[in-house]
Symmetry: D2
Subunit: 337 residues, 4 copies
């Protein structure tokens, strides 16, 4: 920790700060600058108590931490890329993986039609929501366990592993029984009890970024998964909330190089939630692939205008086929297959 | 729903839109304007399927809902103010209620000292966290059930009802056993399973606004509580996340008149989380009281610099006494007691 | 400046950093911590070149400035409150000043009617736009010099000093000839050439906060005025842009105590732009007064629905009278007159 | 315009709205829905007065415009892509153009060295700031006209056209004398007087997006240029301000497909300002190229750590060479040269 004192701080006020630093387990180190006195508090910030309370002392101008707070997800802890095996499909390797399917599982016909079509077009993982978090209590909340069974059937028929959202700690075991990857949605990105419950199933966990989540907080939320002894973590950027209203969210593609620098975990991009408009999805996918994403998560529906949720952002089966074709040169340019 | 077609839309493309509108249960009504054709879709948006998928049709420029989505929390449904009785203390009546106490319950001595002191200074409800959601898995997570027992002891000694945070569906009954008000924190503001679990306990629920939650979404999250037959709902503004870094959050006091207009439920302001700096709390309280808040939620600690969490934003016992004194003229000016 | 090195930095990479620090005029001071080495660069950050480029060096984890960048606007430079005399009305003294009038000057009748009415209701300064910055080139751009002359006439008739917006460097002298206070609008808050031109007229300058302007940047924009030898500076909060769409902007009332702490200059609140809805203006004013604002800037129009700009946010003459009545107890509670 | 009335609006209140609609030049058209009455106001929103003031009428729930406000910049007005010729270099054609150079022109040696190096690496336009908008009045403000002359010299030596920022209306002719493209910076994106002055020079204008500027506002700011009879407009995304602090701004690459859809004008991406960190620039460029950007604007400096401004975000000459090499496969994949 670095503590900056206000100009002209009296000796006794400085002494009080030094005493407090020592009391909390640090060794103070004074630097007298031209305009300010700065105190370094030597000690392990991850073990000792935080000194941030000094911020409220009148003689203190700023308190600045110097250590990063994430450990297990960091590149320092694991310099090589890690990869996640989900039902035989490896995310984080040379192959760009594409997770595709409807926002919600609606019927056997809908999910099977979609599964076969996306597989044919090149998708390697099937997505579909069985439990849906909906802004209003009066909107369709998903088919629940019936939806999970339909996903399992689609997996049997196509061989595609399945990713689906986990909404409730109490359903962790149930969802893990059917899913190859557990998705933690943006609204639950800091629902730490849910993250722990997901981690404990041992299944790969795909952690979406919260609507207003800083990179640092996202890495720490991921830390909850690794700290509960589940190394199979995927970070998924899905857009953050800004002032812009043209798109549903602002998809922050800079997270790809940032996460690649800060963490060893694979990076997934969800352009469908990210922009919330089917007409922009292909362009966002091109950017994501070029920038080094390990996987894409794309909403595809046999008839988007009939979708029971998020209709505006789902691409059609034909549209998905064209998208996959258009991506090919960029996958090659990125050195992926 | 209002559907705006693009200029120069062909007859057959218009017909397709009309057909889709009918298929989803609405009656189309055409208005031909100077530059655009606009179609009203007559029907109940709360019962019929949404038409938002039309947004992705190439001939459609905009789809605009005309109905509000919240019902039970709305002023239309309940024109008079509602009030919430928490252990005998009425929030939403003439008296301004003050909920005060530490961010986290740390020890018997800490919570009892605080409880007596805040009561003496005029607080009417005791706050204190037993289960703490922490950004990092390595930070203090609260005393758990032991903390709840200490809060119950403080209630016995002082008579102050208790508010504490609920973090997990699985702990809803446990926390409800000890608490007079269940707090749903900002990170769980759209954790709908937790909202339902809290609602089902029958205890009053204080719903904090999410970090990037629009008013409309907040009202709908509250709707989850009322729709699960618990009428005892409090909305609590605690700051939203913006680009500003001087304060921890940006406390949006305009929510007071807005909520008073849109909903009948009482409005609580949390200036401590809202600005994250003890030195600004008194000023924020003055504004909140003047603008019509029904209650304040203030973090108070016997020794803020020793606090185990959120040290920078907790006011001291003396500071809280001065704050309560300074508020008096504004409480009177607002016609409260 | 504080420079944090990455863990396990090699000796030669550390030496390179030390050399660079010396080259740019600072004296390095090394602190070896448990997990990181931290280097203090001793020297005047306001005189020497910035070290921020070190951020891009691979061995550097963070570079943190320790000095604040504003000088003349700071409390350190001028511990007492300053006040601004605008045509005989003192802003920043015991009296709460109220600037009221239409968004745009539209006609002689409109501005004179408004001026007399707002004066009668207690306003002390007349506002009105003659040059209007409009998002679209096809919207009404103001009456220009004719508008200035009408404002001058209203001043002669009522004795109220006048505040109006300055849009262009080239009009600085023209506008200063008619206005008692020059308003710099939110879109020009970092138009430094305009700030300098305004400062040089010697007139008081009211500097609105930019749409996405941090406190620190706002203080520095104000610094441009004082650094060009004009001490008559007013800071005016008018809402920042966030994700919320219920209000036009999010009025950040925490700026009142923050500015009071950081600067000696008077603080003005503009609730009309701040929320963009006439029905919320009174509540926002109550909060602003309670929190210590020195003045309010309120849009008032004889017939808001006929206004040529920003119709939704202007209050009627009657509405303004009621607003002023409702404010009285809060003005008294705040110890103002 | 669409006006939504509140439920249970009385006949006389409805009649008042209809009368007002007629008074402002529109023809009202009533639709009675299940829960609301909706009134279409038929008429040209670009010619008639706005009805937005109805928002403040108590019987009105919402007022929604149906027409877009931009005209000349829109695809509707000009279905084909337009291109801009800047000193012989065509932006918006098949070739991806790269504008590269230092943030500020600092010396003859610095700008000439950079110009030769970036040309060799494949840049086609030279950038460099002569007039610099700086957050603090105490920071380096650019070499001014001397800087312009150095840019002109670099153009003579290398043949590269020059882009540089225009800060002041009063300098429009001066800067236009030396520059092939006038840059309007983010802080001046809604400085309409400056936009008009720039347009009138006849030089191509590169309009950066404001820090918190919606797409709609950006298009309208561009409209100011075209409406003043200068068709040579470039839109440049350079990141918006969000809550994230890891990067300086959040570069919104979704603007590429959005602008391509809404406007015919070429799209430029500035990754240097966009992320503010040299280590992320290459990745952002890859994404921009893949998504269809017409040009890139990249800060390059012979010795970034010695730069007089924005040191952290400038890439070195060698780094720029590597960046250009790494882009090649993505330029090809995008069908550009």
């Amino acid at each position: 920790m670095i503590i900056v004192l206000k100009p002209n701080t009296k000796k006794k006020d400085e002494t009080a700060v030094l005493k407090e630093i020592r009391r909390l387990g640090y060794r103070p180190h004074i630097m007298r600058g031209v305009a300010r006195t700065v105190i370094g508090a030597i000690g392990d910030e991850q073990k000792n108590r935080t000194l941030e309370a000094l911020n409220s002392w009148t003689q203190v101008e700023q308190v600045m931490p110097v250590q990063k707070r994430h450990k297990l997800v960091s590149r320092e802890a694991h310099p090589n890329n890690s990869s996640v095996n989900a039902g035989g499909v490896v995310i984080g390797g040379k192959k760009l993986q594409v997770m595709a399917g409807p926002c919600s599982v609606e019927s056997e016909r809908q999910i099977l039609t979609t599964a076969h079509a996306v597989k044919k077009a090149g998708a390697t993982i099937l997505r579909g929501g069985a439990f849906k978090p909906r802004t209003s209590p009066y909107e369709f909340q998903g088919l629940g366990e019936k939806g999970l069974k339909l996903l399992a059937k689609a997996r049997r028929e196509t061989g595609l592993p399945v990713i689906t959202e986990l909404l409730s700690e109490q359903q962790a075991d149930l969802v893990a029984e059917y899913a190859d990857i557990l998705q933690i949605g943006t609204r639950n990105a800091q629902n730490f009890q849910l993250l722990i419950a997901a981690a404990k199933t041992g299944r790969p966990v795909l952690l979406k970024r919260g609507l207003a989540m800083k990179i640092d907080e996202w890495l720490l939320a991921g830390e909850y998964v690794l700290a509960h002894e589940n190394p199979n973590l995927l970070f998924c950027e899905r857009g953050v909330r800004t002032f812009e209203t043209y798109t549903r969210n602002t998809l922050d593609l800079s997270t790809i190089p940032i996460l690649k620098k800060e963490t060893h975990c694979p990076v997934v991009i969800d352009p469908s939630q990210g922009v919330g408009r089917a007409d922009l999805v292909t362009a966002m996918c091109k950017g994501a692939v070029a920038m080094g994403a390990d996987a894409l998560l794309i909403e595809v529906h046999p008839n988007p205008t009939e979708a029971w949720s998020d209709a505006a952002q789902q691409v059609s089966l034909d549209g998905f086929g064209r998208l996959m074709d258009e991506l090919k040169p960029f996958i090659a340019a990125a050195g992926r297959v």
